[in-house]
């Protein structure tokens, strides 16, 4: 499958999970699908058959509220069978936020914002101490940039020259209760990271070529890729809305959204 086909499969999985769980964060999951597609099907050196390989790349999904996206890509990649892709049913392994070891490939429990980046720093530092070549990628949300620990972690990563670390920001510009520039303005976001000592790239987070190229970049700095994305990407009525953070997918919408994704060219 090519990127477009994979990302369509992932979006349909997300809609299925959100329909069955009747949980929120649909828009947050849809905005990061294309980034996850490139990460898991191109960038990350990981093997579902050997998920604990000590030389594997580490990926921390810090914007844990969008776990439906992450579990969908793990499933698509073969870390667990589709029969277990069930969210928030009684006894199911998938919760609204990722739980470490719920499935192979879930490196850390996340969901409290501002926690994944420090954990990623610890993994990146450990890799350096052990002279390992693995890279560490952590995906954070834009709202997560409100958290103090994001900037504590940025200070640390730059000071310790963690060039094996990449922070990916899913910059869909809508956080829990409003637009980021209304709740807590982040701009100029790139300049902030640059001033902290990061290599900064700003790209279209739905453009597969740009994503590939951005993840290819090598230098001696910790890296941040600010991915400009669209919240709810792929479902027109959800795109760029705060509503998509809370919307419960009805039976009828499940069919409609799935069909819309099938038909779309993205």
């Amino acid at each position: 499958m090519n990127y477009v086909e994979i990302s369509k499969e992932l979006r349909k999985k997300v809609v299925k999970l959100k329909h069955e769980s009747q949980g929120g964060h649909l828009g947050s999951a849809l905005s990061c699908i294309d980034i996850l597609t490139v990460l898991y099907f191109k960038v990350l050196n990981i093997d579902p058959k050997n998920p604990l390989d000590e030389n594997r790349d580490r990926f921390i999904f810090s914007k844990g509220h969008a776990s439906a996206a992450w579990y969908s890509v793990l499933c698509q990649k073969g870390f667990f069978p589709e029969s277990e892709l069930i969210e928030s049913a009684n006894g199911s392994k998938i919760a609204g936020h990722p739980v470490k070891d719920s499935f192979p490939g879930v490196e850390a429990s996340t969901g409290s914002l501002g926690h994944g980046f420090p954990i990623a720093n610890g993994m990146a530092l450990a890799g350096k101490k052990d002279n390992k070549n693995y890279k560490v990628v952590v995906m954070i949300s834009d709202g997560e940039c409100d958290e103090g620990t994001t900037w504590e972690a940025a200070l640390f990563a730059a000071h310790h020259k963690l060039d094996n670390l990449t922070v990916v920001i899913d910059y869909n510009k809508i956080q829990s209760f409003g637009k980021t520039d209304e709740v807590m303005n982040l701009d100029p976001l790139g300049a902030k990271w640059e001033s902290f000592g990061f290599d900064v790239q700003e790209i279209d987070g739905h453009d597969f070529d740009q994503l590939e190229k951005a993840f290819d970049k090598q230098n001696d700095k910790p890296k941040v890729i600010i991915c400009h994305t669209i919240k709810g990407k792929g479902i027109k009525t959800m795109e760029n809305t705060v509503e998509s953070h809370y919307h419960k997918v009805t039976d009828q919408e499940y069919q409609q959204f799935t069909e819309e994704i099938n038909q779309s060219k993205l």
Binding site: P118, I119, E152
Partner: protein, 306 residues
Amino acid sequence: MRKGFVKALIELAAKDKDVYLLTGDLGFNAFEPFIEKFPGQYINCGIAEQHMVGMAAGMALSGKKPYVYSIVPFLTFRALEQIRADICYQNVNVKLIGVGGGFSYGSLGCTHVVMEDLAVMRTLPNMTVLSPADALETEALVHAMYQTQNPTYLRLANAGQYSTHQTRPVINLGVPVVFEQGGDMAVIVTGIQTNFCVQIANELKDQHINITLIGMPSLKPINEEALLKAIGSCKKILTVEEHSVIGGLGAAVGEILERHNWQGKIQRMGINDAFPTKVGTSDWLRTEYGLDKENIKKTILALLVN
């Protein structure tokens, strides 16, 4: 106690390259020998405790064994959610070392004098909670906790001139340290006051009064059978701790006794539910708040006759 911690950690780091000392920019006049011997296993994480704890979790998830050091409130309260979600929820091998327990920093005010840490740490699933009596007990606990994979909180106090043990004791985590047995009442104690209680027990012995004295370097886990065996037939119990009477040693012992339907009288000595706002030296504050040797002795004698 912190020198005991550093001494033991140097011993561990010498044989295990995965042992790391992380500090929130503290450790002046204590960590220098460690830094000199193992510069690559020492990380000053700056004054950013939440990040430090989360990062330690990431290191532990990558096979490292971080010992994370800061002053009690900055470690246990500032970084509480990281301790809960990143350390305990994920059940990773991170050891938290809180310095300045109880009245250690009595001259610095209640931002630094914390009497609630043991209670809060004790409620966290997977967490081991330790509170040594002196430097040698600290060394023993550091070695004992190294043997486990559990998240652990070690509360260090400034023991000053106080010491109970003459040599490094062997401590099995959770098993009480029985100093005296066979009395009519049991004194169960943790931390600095252990030193006072050992002296009191000796003085009472000279007056032909025997008490059972049980030291509790581990508040969690507690080997319940061993504790009940040490209490034996005592029908009066006094718990003593430099900590709030809510949620610490007294509560832990009470919970066990309740579970085992123990019948008798139990009294708690500690800090009542208020900030101890007086300012002074540790020993002066112990006297002011009734946790000094004389008041403990008085309380024991009163409980013996009532």
